[in-house]
Amino acid sequence: MSGDLAIDVQDLTRRFGAFTAVGGITFNVRAGEVFGFLGANGAGKTTAIRMLTGLLVPSSGRATVAGHDVARDAERVKRDIGYMSQKFSLYEDLTVRENITLYGGIYDLRDREIRDRSARMLANLQLEHAADQLVRAIPLGWRQKLAFSVALLHQPRVVFLDEPTSGVDPITRRQFWELIYDAAAGGTTVLVTTHYMDEAEYCDRISIMVDGRIGAMGTPAELKRDFKVSSIDDLFVQLARPTGSAQGPAA
């Protein structure tokens, strides 16, 4: 195993009373990879991500994110990662600039760094004219792109994205993914969950969680070949309702 694993998960488990939300998952993500973390609602994705971002303590198993153990060094994990979710990204009653300054402050960036980075970010997104508008006045697509950029403000090594493109138009979605590619090209590791099956194809590798375990993992091309399906959508259906015969190789 090479030393530059951005995320290293070994037999990670989380139980809530008698219910096992995550039943021992093992996988890793290299630096600069775009990793698609898929699965149906209730399959355990959210719980797994909460453990990896230091929000939940694992019941057993180990995970290292950005070089820190999530159980022992949760605070250092949080410092080195970025997070953006569909439910929450930016404060709607603050302006764009105020949001950036707030997050900059939370991650201990110096004032000059904040100024420089935010200027670059706004220019990149072509949002300079909206810098002093309240976030709630900005269209959804721009908000999502902005939220992603803010999550990257402190230049984290790993960024977690939870359904970041829900509901936006096809062009904005693709622009968002170009931002992801751009970040990955710069060495940032991206772990993303999505319900859009075509976005699964945009990833370097994907994993699909079923009932708390990883049902399949690999590059999209490999998986399609091994499971003899023509789309990730079909793969999903196969995993969720196995026909019995074509069960692909173990992840």
Binding site: L140, W142, S166, H195, Y202, V237
Partner: protein, 318 residues
């Protein structure tokens, strides 16, 4: 297709605004009976507003809408008996069980589950095993089916389903569309809204909707075939660098990721795709992408949507 009084839905220049925001900017379309009609587009585009007007919940500022040959504003009580409506977010009572929810909605329309047993059987059979479970404890796919059942139980003549597949896993989505196909086959007129472009292909006809306007209304195949520029699919190992390189090719109109390929749209309308493919391969090879493959490909509804969208919310497209 010209509208006739036999059409299930006829909308004429519908306009609706909320304060300063224009939700619908003058929509006109019609839906014949027994058609599975999709309204496809991103959030904030006005789909929910349109459905609410058609379901007699909102009044348009301008324009008219007729459903089942009745006016949505004037004949609302007549229509409310005949419409099946499934609002977004699954309006189910979380603290009632599957059975109790269904029984309630049946009683509101003056009927009972027992009486409609045969009618709802195809869907209810998938729920029966959970009939005493509280709605809040159901998975997204189950909630979806239950909500559909509740909308159907009073034998409506037309169904309005507002984003029934949002937030539901891929398998349940498929099963849901299978159910809709079955319903349509039995003669039901169904209008469905969805943000997922791939679901457009499962409809008889589709309206592409964005920012309160209709970009196109036609059968999905026709919309796809109306794509008027050469379209090629490029496969390359290093996808993002290839994308950036293609943006610099001489005749590019747009390049964007598309599933496991990149879609390249050439600006020259008349050119033969095969010729362009050769050009592009050479171009990519010259940029260090010798392993890339380029093939002409058929456009999909999504390609058409992207082409017709114009500037998405102010920013430039490609």
């Amino acid at each position: 297709m010209s509208a006739s009084s036999a059409d299930a839905v006829v909308a004429d220049c519908l306009e609706k605004r909320f304060g300063q925001t224009i939700a619908l900017a003058g929509l006109s379309f019609s839906v014949p009976r027994a058609e599975l009609f999709g309204v496809v587009g991103p959030d904030g585009g006005g789909k929910t507003t349109l459905f609410r007007i058609l379901a007699t919940l909102l009044v348009p500022e301008k324009g008219t809408a007729r459903v089942l040959d009745r006016d949505v504003v004037k004949d609302l009580w007549d229509l409310r008996r005949r419409i099946g409506y499934m609002p977004g977010r699954f309006s189910l009572y979380p603290d009632l069980s599957v059975y109790e929810n269904l029984r309630f909605f049946a009683s509101v329309f003056g009927t009972t589950i027992e009486r409609e047993q045969a009618h709802i059987a195809p869907i209810y059979s998938q729920l029966e095993a959970f009939k005493d479970r509280r709605a809040s404890a159901l998975s997204g796919g189950m909630k979806q089916k239950l909500a559909l059942c509740c909308a159907l139980v009073h034998r409506p003549e037309i169904l309005f389903l507002d984003e029934p597949t949002t937030g539901v896993d891929a398998v349940s989505r498929r099963e849901f569309w299978d159910l809709l196909a079955q319903l349509k086959a039995s003669g039901m007129t169904i209008l469905v809204s969805t943000p997922y472009m791939d679901e457009a292909d499962r409809c008889d006809r589709v309206a592409l909707m964005q920012s309160g306007r209709l970009l196109a209304v036609d059968a999905p195949k026709a919309i796809a075939q109306a794509f008027d520029r050469p379209l090629l699919a490029v496969r390359a190992a290093r996808r993002y660098p290839a994308l950036l390189a293609l943006r610099e090719s001489p005749h590019v109109h747009a390049v964007y990721p598309f599933g496991d390929t990149l879609h390249y749209v050439d600006a020259r309308r008349g050119e033969a795709p095969a010729a362009i493919a050769t050009e592009l391969s050479a171009f990519l090879a010259s940029r260090g992408f010798a392993d890339a493959t380029v093939e002409p490909t058929a456009a999909t509804v999504e390609d058409s949507f992207i082409a017709r969208m114009g500037a998405p919310e102010g920013t430039r497209a490609a």
